[in-house]
Symmetry: D2
């Protein structure tokens, strides 16, 4: 079975595992205060171009989103997300479980629109009963989005301006940040993100690490006491060095960017292959996730040799499915898939 | 200033206040275990036609919704509501503050559609990642709805059937139940509601009491330990007899129904008056709330003598506003309003 | 049955009920923004001697404690209370339900000791793993305490100094504040409390109102957005004027203080009577609550005519019980009790 | 620097890392539904001697405790723990953050006493105001305890009987279960624990894994929907196979037990060495944690070469510190420490 379900099918990039092996029997203090974690944090600050940032490592995405959001909001405040936002639909209500409403705004191509935030805030503030409505305090976006689309610098800047106007935090979920950065059409870079958000994270789990997300905080209000929040949410790994070592390796010799590029290259191959086969795209393919619509009987045939992710039923005959590439996807596997599709379509 | 803002502008129906006066210096035990509360509960069971029900008194609507919903759901479960549902938009995120997602379904005329519940549940259950999504466990509806519309028996029965199919609780918010029951076009009665819901409440605050809501529980699973939930949510009034006495009086000599009828009669007058003036209705007027669209300058003129509730801006020149009648609305005030409108439109 | 169970056995002081009656059919805006509430707030600021205070009215004690504490604390913070503190033992875990630990410190006579706070904080701050422990941020005390004892000015000042040293909020629960103020041996006054706490409340439910607590906030950090918190916790009464009118009346012509004095006078009668009968006190009697130890068979005899509150079993033969006086306690009832006790002991 | 701070100073047992290396590039489905996780679960059921158990893997201890407890309790319920219980003092209030009170009972040697549970429940049930007090529903114990002590089978059975009498769940935190099982004086075995608890977990993080805890559920009520709870609490590792592979290796050829034995053997060496030096033990040394009291100046001298964990100040001159052994502790390091101590005491 060749799998294209997601970008976390394999373990870690071999260099990471090698480094874990080499350092395995060293003794370090726990909870992220070891030398490796400290070094990795400095490296990330350098990459972000700002020594005043705070960097913390957490284990996974849901945990990171929950920790950041519940740390930032007071009990009567909520967070904006688009319908397809990960916190809105794929974290079993983890944000609400910490007491906060996810306020859904209409997105476009899975992306938050600055004008929609402004529209909501304008009518919120004019309503005399505003105290009966959750107070918006944060905007949650992800790069890439859940449907694989990307924000441009101009779009982020628009959202930043609205956030400044209404005193909202901007939080960018970078679970797939590497893939976003290596998408050729995209002009984004990490210092820009660090500068334009209050907090964001650099995803490791989906980009070559065994697991791990690096939270980067620029807003001083959010820096205070963040380690308490990590501990309370179960994110303070006893053997914190596991996170430090992984991120240190990911940001040595541009490994993070190089392996991300592989995913984008393989996605382009896939996309071109699908186009040649005349397959319908459910979303404009942009990064490492490709959403296509397939006939149910063809899906069945494909499933004898390949796996990929169910999205939703389009109608009684067709289904939307997702193919993902990653740091680990091989050209051989992509070609085997496309060949099989061509022969069986 | 004559007010039509809402249905809680005055104190209580004079009979209720008189009864509170007469019993004022009696000594009773606290927390809802006094004789008055016990009698009022029995009376409500009789009216519901079922002695196996549990009845509890709480102070207000937000408190009641929060207490019922958080008592019913486990941490990973959520509650369906329509966009305009009170729990979704006017309780400062009180439901989310107890850890639960309000799952919004598209409504029609402010009403939950059985077919939308079914559609959501069907695609929920088919999704292999269902454990990453909040598990729906309750349907929240209100009678009348926030926009003044009403469910028919047939509509409630459809929703009940879907709830049974998917093992969902049905909870009816009856903050304005009296007004719903006295709307001539509606065929609803309390025993029907008691039979077709798992839990509902009979609103007092908006229907002649100083404050108070009577929760009626038919589902045995929800009965257990409900008093703990009331206490934890601050709803266990020390002088619980205040609630017992009020509901006892409301359900003596059909007072609840008679005073509700006044609101509906006055609303009809208003509606006819608005129609004669050629005013645009934002919602089909059905019960004691009338939503109309007025020119901003006319609103300004009206505000010199009358008050009513802002809803939302329609465009730069017009605004949607709400006029409410209640048990206390007088014909004189309605006529004064209509006369003024006629002369100034 | 003559009852001494608690201080909320009757309705409201007749003057309050009269005022509710007189204003009953007036139309006012809701949610505490009516004229009566505004006037009552001004009156309370005057009594506190500080126009910069914020005053809010809530319905009951558990609700008030929950709203204040959860509004003040961030998710990783907790509140100090003594073992017998109301929030620790008699609110069905309402504080924990909002996510915060009640950190128990050893009390003396039911009172928080400044030295215990200091001791805890000193060892907290020296612990290298402090981030694994809830961060203390508030001290909760009540005047009178649950066991009827009282803080002196000097004791409050000591606690204040420790709070300042460790950057802790001081919150005083004044559910029985009137009774504390009228205890002759006590030197406390309201302006002193307003000056030395960050937030406190003046209890109405137990001191002559039908219900209601007046929260007084002096710390600016706690003032912001407090109305959101009230709404979210179900404390924003639709007919908010009910609270305004009651507090306005309570603070007209010193009614609050006069009726509190009655409770203290009656408690002194009771105490002297118990002393004459040689009854054992479980706590030094100080305000309107008297805790005594009685033989179980004598309790049974008393219960044929009188009611009072169970506290705990002392041993197989004796039980600790509470007798409470209030604004409504009559000399006649106290004498009837003492006479019966004398004849049946 | 030679460290004895804790039992998670190194990475993983080399066999585990080797296995992760070998399987690294295999593609597996995520979220714990891969073949390795399935096999590891079966293995653990075999070791527990019960095929009806449910087994789940989570990342860390705080996460596991929070997930299990909040899944088991309804909002008005709480969990018993002793003062030193991990959930009470070292998880930044994570349990309270999910809404539940940790009810502290007096322990003995860090252990829960069946008689204390019974005493509490008896007076709880006799209190007429029981609904104002959190309802106890679970007993939390850990084996070994935080102070290194161990429950005997008889003690567990006593607690089980009290749990059955009062309908309480028994939850055993086995973060250091391996070390408990290999303590020669202890008669405990895993099937006994599986049979006498409702849910327990087998700790990996402190016993040779990189990270990971295996939750074992025997009570059917707790099995339902547990995966939702894991996901909501951020414990559903995307690359779930990392947990499966580690536990599979730990329970192959008794690795878990063999490496645990090393910790106990090394602890015995340490203990004997300390005894020979006449050092005072703060707790009777029983498993892999040794608590001793040292002079502050001697601590300073030791810290030039060795690290160990601060516990608390005994007085102005002495401090209680912890020395931990683990699967990775070498005889050489223990002897180096003891030699240095002997020469410098």
């Amino acid at each position: 079975m060749i799998r294209f379900n997601c970008d976390y099918l394999e373990g870690a990039h071999p260099k990471i595992l090698k480094r874990l092996m080499e350092t395995n029997m060293e003794q370090t203090v726990g909870y992220g205060e070891d030398e490796y974690s400290i070094k990795a944090k400095e490296k990330i600050k350098d990459i972000c171009g700002d020594k005043n940032l705070d960097v913390h490592f957490l284990v996974g995405g849901t945990q990171t989103n929950t920790t950041v959001i519940s740390h930032a909001l007071r009990p009567h405040q909520g967070v904006f997300a688009v319908e397809t936002g990960h916190i809105n639909c794929h974290e079993t209500g983890a944000i609400e479980a910490t007491g906060h409403k996810v306020i859904v705004l209409p997105g476009e191509d899975g992306k938050m629109q600055a004008c929609e935030i402004k529209k909501y805030m304008d009518s919120y503030l004019i309503d005399p009963s505003f105290e009966h409505v959750v107070q918006p305090k944060m905007v949650y976006i992800s790069q890439t989005t859940e449907v694989g689309s990307l924000y441009s610098k101009a779009e982020i800047e628009s959202i930043r301006r609205v956030c400044d106007e209404f005193n909202l935090y901007l939080f960018l979920d970078g679970a797939r940040l590497g893939y976003a950065l290596e998408t050729s059409a995209n002009d984004m870079d990490i210092p820009f993100i660090a500068k334009n958000t209050d907090v964001f994270y650099i995803g490791g789990t989906k980009v070559g690490a065994l697991f791990g997300e690096a939270v980067v905080i620029s807003n001083d209000d959010l820096k205070k006491d963040f380690r308490y929040a990590i501990k309370q949410h179960g994110g303070m790994l006893a053997k914190g060095r596991l996170l430090g070592i992984q991120f240190l390796e990911l940001f040595t010799d541009d490994l993070y960017f190089k392996i991300s590029k592989n995913a984008i290259d393989m996605a382009r191959l896939l996309k071109e292959g699908f186009e040649n086969l005349g397959i319908t795209f459910a979303e404009t393919p942009a990064s490492n996730q490709i959403f296509i619509i397939l006939n149910n009987s063809f899906i069945e045939k494909l499933h004898t040799k390949f796996d990929f992710e169910y999205q939703y039923q389009v109608n009684d005959f067709e289904t939307c499915v997702r193919f993902c590439t990653s740091w680990a996807t091989t050209k051989e596997n992509v070609e085997t898939l496309l060949k099989f599709m061509k022969e069986n379509i």
